[in-house]
Amino acid sequence: MTDHPTLTAPPAASEQRKPRLAVWKFASCDGCQLTLLNCEDELLHLAGEIEVAYFLEATRAVVEGPYDLSLVEGSVTTAEDAERIQQVRASSRRLVTIGACATAGGIQALRNFADVEEFRAAVYAQPEYVETLSTSTPIAAHVPVDFELRGCPIDKGQLVEVITAFVQDRKPRVTGESVCVECKRRGNICVTVAHGTPCLGPVTHTGCGALCPSYDRGCYGCFGPADTTNTVSLSGRLRELGMPQRDVRRVYSTFNTAAPAFAKESARHSEEGDGDAARGGTS
C-alpha cells in the first residue's frame, strides 16, 4: 500500500466516545508493540485520549470491536493467521501496520527464498507438529492497509505521530526520504566518504534518526527501502569499498528481505559468482 493514503472513511460513529485502539500480533518479536509501552512519557496521557480496547500484551480486558484504529505487528506465516487478518481488517476502521514484519514480511521472510520444509526439519525433530506456510508475507499482501510504519523496530516518535494523526483524522507527517537526508540534517560526517565504511543510508527509508552513522557504523537497512532508491549504484560503491559480492547479497537480505527493491538487488548478486559468492553459500 501507499505511504500517503487518502483518508476517506467516515468519522467514528459517535463523536462522544473515545477512539478505540486495538493492537494485534502476528509473527514477530514483540519489539514494535513494546515501542508503544516504551512511550513512558506519553502512555498515560494517551490512555486518557483513546480507549485501549484490545492489547493483549498490556491487558486481559478485551473490548469487542469494531475498532477505530488497529495497529498490526508481525507478518502472516500460517493459514490461521491469513484468516485472522481478514477478521482484523473487517473489525477496523483504520489499519496501520507497525514495523518491518508487518510491512515487508520481516527477517522470517528469508524462508521465501529457501526450502521451508528443510528449515522446519533443521529446527524441529518432529517437523509434522509445526504448521507453517512456505512464505512470510506483509499484511498488505492480504488486506488493504491505511498506512505502513517502517522500521525494525519502529521509531517511538513516528508511532506517536501516526496515532495522533489518525485520532485527528489527518495524514501522518512521515516522509519517505532516505537516511542520508536525516543524517545530513543531524550534522554527521558521512561514514562512507570520510572512513570508507559501507552504509545503506542512501537507499534506506528514514525514521531511525540516522542512528548507526552517529555510532560510527554504516546503516544496515532496518527501515527498508526509501521511496526512491538507486540500489544498483550503491552496490557498485559497496564493491569498490571492497565488500565481497556474497556480503552485498547479504546486506539487502535481512529484516526487509522481501521488500521489492531489496529483494531485487539481493537477487542480482546471487548468481553472478565472483568466487566470494561461491564460497559463502546462500543466505
Partner: protein, 435 residues
C-alpha cells in the same frame, strides 16, 4: 461455574494469554478430582532463526538474533557475541566486558520493570492491566514507567536504541560512550535506584499463596559479581560445568502441543532458570543495597515460592541500578571500542543471563566465517516444563475455586516466570480445559 467436588470433569482454558510476551495458551484438564493434563501451548508461529542463520557471515548473528525478541534483544546480542568470539579464540578486554554489563543492566531494568509493573502487579492488585490500575494507583504506575525509562535511557546511550540496539558488534562496540555521556545519566540512575528500592518494598507487601516448590535451579556464577554477562554454570544440586558443556548437560525435546522445545537437565529432568535461580545460587554475590533490600523484604538466601519471583525481580532491578552506577563511576576514557575478531573454522559457545534466565548460543563456523550451524536455547523453553508442573500442583490444591477465579490464578502462576513466548518459539497459549 461447575465445581469438581463430586468428581465431575472440568476444563480450564485460556486461548490467548494476556500480559505475556508473545502468543501462548493454557489448557488444564481435571477428571475425577484429579488434574489429568496440563498443557502450556506455544502457538506463536515459528520463524526458523536457526535455519536461516546458516550461510550468514560470522559478524551477523548479534543483529539477526536480537530480532528473536524485542524485550530482551541485548541478551541475544551478548550471547551471540560470546559464542562467536569463543569460536574465534578471542577474549575481550575487561573494559568491553564492563560496557556489555552496563548495557545489559539497562535491559534488566527495562525488562524486569515492564514485567513487575505492567504485566504482573495488576494480578496482585486486582486489575486487568496497568492502564486500568493507573486509575487508582497512578503514583505506582508512574514510578514504574519512570524506572523503566531509566533502563531505556541506559540502552539508548550505550546501544543507540533500546529495541534492537545498533552499537553492539562481535569484538565489542562500534563506538565507546564517553565518561561525560555516562556521567550525564547518573542523576536518572540514582533516582532509579531509589525507585527500585521502593519497588522491592511494594512487591514484598503483596499477598503470596503458600506454594514452596522443590526446584532444581540452574544459573551462571562468577567469582566476583552477580551473574549477568558471563560466568560458569552451577546447579542447586551442586553440579558445576563450563559453558561449552551445556549441550551435554541439557537436552531439548519436542512436544506436540508447543512450538517451543522443552529442555531437560541430564539425570535431573525439569529445571528452572531466571531470577529465582540466579538469586538462590548467587545470594552471596548481591551488591550491598540489593542484599539489604532482600533482607528487609523477608527473602532468605534462597527463594522457592515462584509467586515471590516479583520480589526477587525487584531485588535484581536494584542489582542492575547499583552495578550501572558502579561501572559509570569507575569509567575512564581511551579504551578501544572493539578488538579485532578474525574468523577461523570451529565451534563456539556463549551463555549469558537474559532477564528470564540462561540464554545459550552455539555456532559452528567455516574458515571464512560462514555460519554452518546455529543452536539457540532461550530461557522460556527451559522453564516450560516447570511452568506446567507448577500449574498441576497449584490447580490440584485449589479445585474448590470457581473456574473463572482458578483460571485467573493460573494465569498469574504462569506470569511468575515472565514467559517470553516470542523467544521460546521455538516456544506459549493457556487453556484450562475441564473435560
Amino acid at each position: 461455574m461447575t465445581h469438581d467436588g463430586n468428581g465431575e470433569a472440568r476444563e480450564l482454558v485460556v486461548n490467548a494469554l494476556a500480559r505475556v510476551e508473545g502468543e501462548g495458551a493454557m489448557t488444564v484438564v481435571v477428571r475425577g478430582g484429579q488434574v489429568a493434563d496440563v498443557q502450556l501451548r506455544i502457538y506463536e508461529p515459528p520463524r526458523f532463526f536457526e535455519a536461516f542463520l546458516r550461510g550468514r557471515g560470522y559478524t551477523e548473528p548479534p543483529d539477526i538474533t536480537s530480532r528473536i525478541c524485542g524485550i530482551c534483544p541485548v541478551a541475544y546480542e551478548m550471547s551471540a557475541c560470546s559464542a562467536i568470539e569463543d569460536a574465534c579464540g578471542v577474549t575481550v578486554p575487561d573494559e568491553i566486558r564492563l560496557m556489555r554489563r552496563l548495557l545489559y543492566c539497562g535491559e534488566w531494568i527495562e525488562s524486569h520493570t515492564l514485567h513487575i509493573y505492567l504485566l504482573h502487579a495488576p494480578d496482585f492488585l486486582g486489575y486487568p492491566g496497568a492502564i486500568e490500575m493507573a486509575k487508582d494507583h497512578r503514583d505506582v504506575v508512574e514510578r514504574g514507567l519512570r524506572l523503566k525509562k531509566a533502563g531505556n535511557s541506559l540502552m539508548d546511550l550505550v546501544g543507540g536504541r533500546s529495541v534492537h540496539p545498533v552499537n553492539v558488534r562481535v569484538g565489542g562496540f562500534y563506538r565507546m560512550p564517553s565518561r561525560g555521556e555516562l556521567a550525564a545519566l547518573r542523576p536518572e540512575l540514582e533516582r532509579a535506584l531509589y525507585d527500585a528500592l521502593a519497588t522491592v518494598t511494594m512487591a514484598a507487601a503483596f499477598d503470596f499463596p503458600d506454594f514452596e516448590q522443590d526446584y532444581e535451579y540452574l544459573s551462571l556464577r562468577t567469582d566476583h559479581d552477580y551473574p549477568i554477562e558471563t560466568g560458569t554454570f552451577v546447579t542447586s544440586s551442586g553440579r558445576t560445568f563450563p559453558v561449552p558443556a551445556f549441550g551435554e548437560e541439557v537436552t531439548e525435546h519436542q512436544v506436540p502441543h508447543s512450538h517451543a522445545l522443552h529442555a531437560r537437565l541430564r539425570d535431573v529432568g525439569t529445571y528452572v532458570v531466571g531470577p529465582l535461580a540466579r538469586y538462590s545460587l548467587n545470594h552471596d554475590r548481591l551488591p550491598p543495597a540489593a542484599r539489604e533490600a532482600a533482607d528487609a523484604a523477608g527473602l532468605r538466601t534462597t527463594c522457592r515460592n515462584p509467586f515471590r519471583s516479583i520480589v526477587v525481580r525487584a531485588v535484581e532491578v536494584v542489582v542492575a541500578c547499583e552495578e550501572a552506577l558502579r561501572i559509570i563511576d569507575g569509567w575512564t576514557d581511551g579504551h578501544a571500542p572493539a578488538v579485532e575478531v578474525t574468523p577461523r573454522a570451529g565451534v563456539g559457545h556463549g551463555a549469558t543471563e537474559a532477564p528470564r534466565g540462561v540464554l545459550y548460543h552455539r555456532y559452528e563456523l567455516s574458515s571464512d566465517g560462514t555460519v554452518l550451524d546455529a543452536q539457540i536455547v532461550p530461557p522460556t523453553s527451559q522453564n516450560q516444563a516447570s511452568i506446567e508442573n507448577d500449574l498441576r500442583g497449584f490447580v490440584q490444591a485449589r479445585l474448590d475455586l470457581d473456574t473463572e477465579e482458578l483460571t485467573r490464578q493460573c494465569e498469574q502462576a504462569i506470569r511468575n516466570y515472565d514467559p517470553c513466548i516470542s523467544c521460546a518459539t521455538h516456544f506459549l497459549d493457556l487453556t484450562v480445559e475441564e473435560a
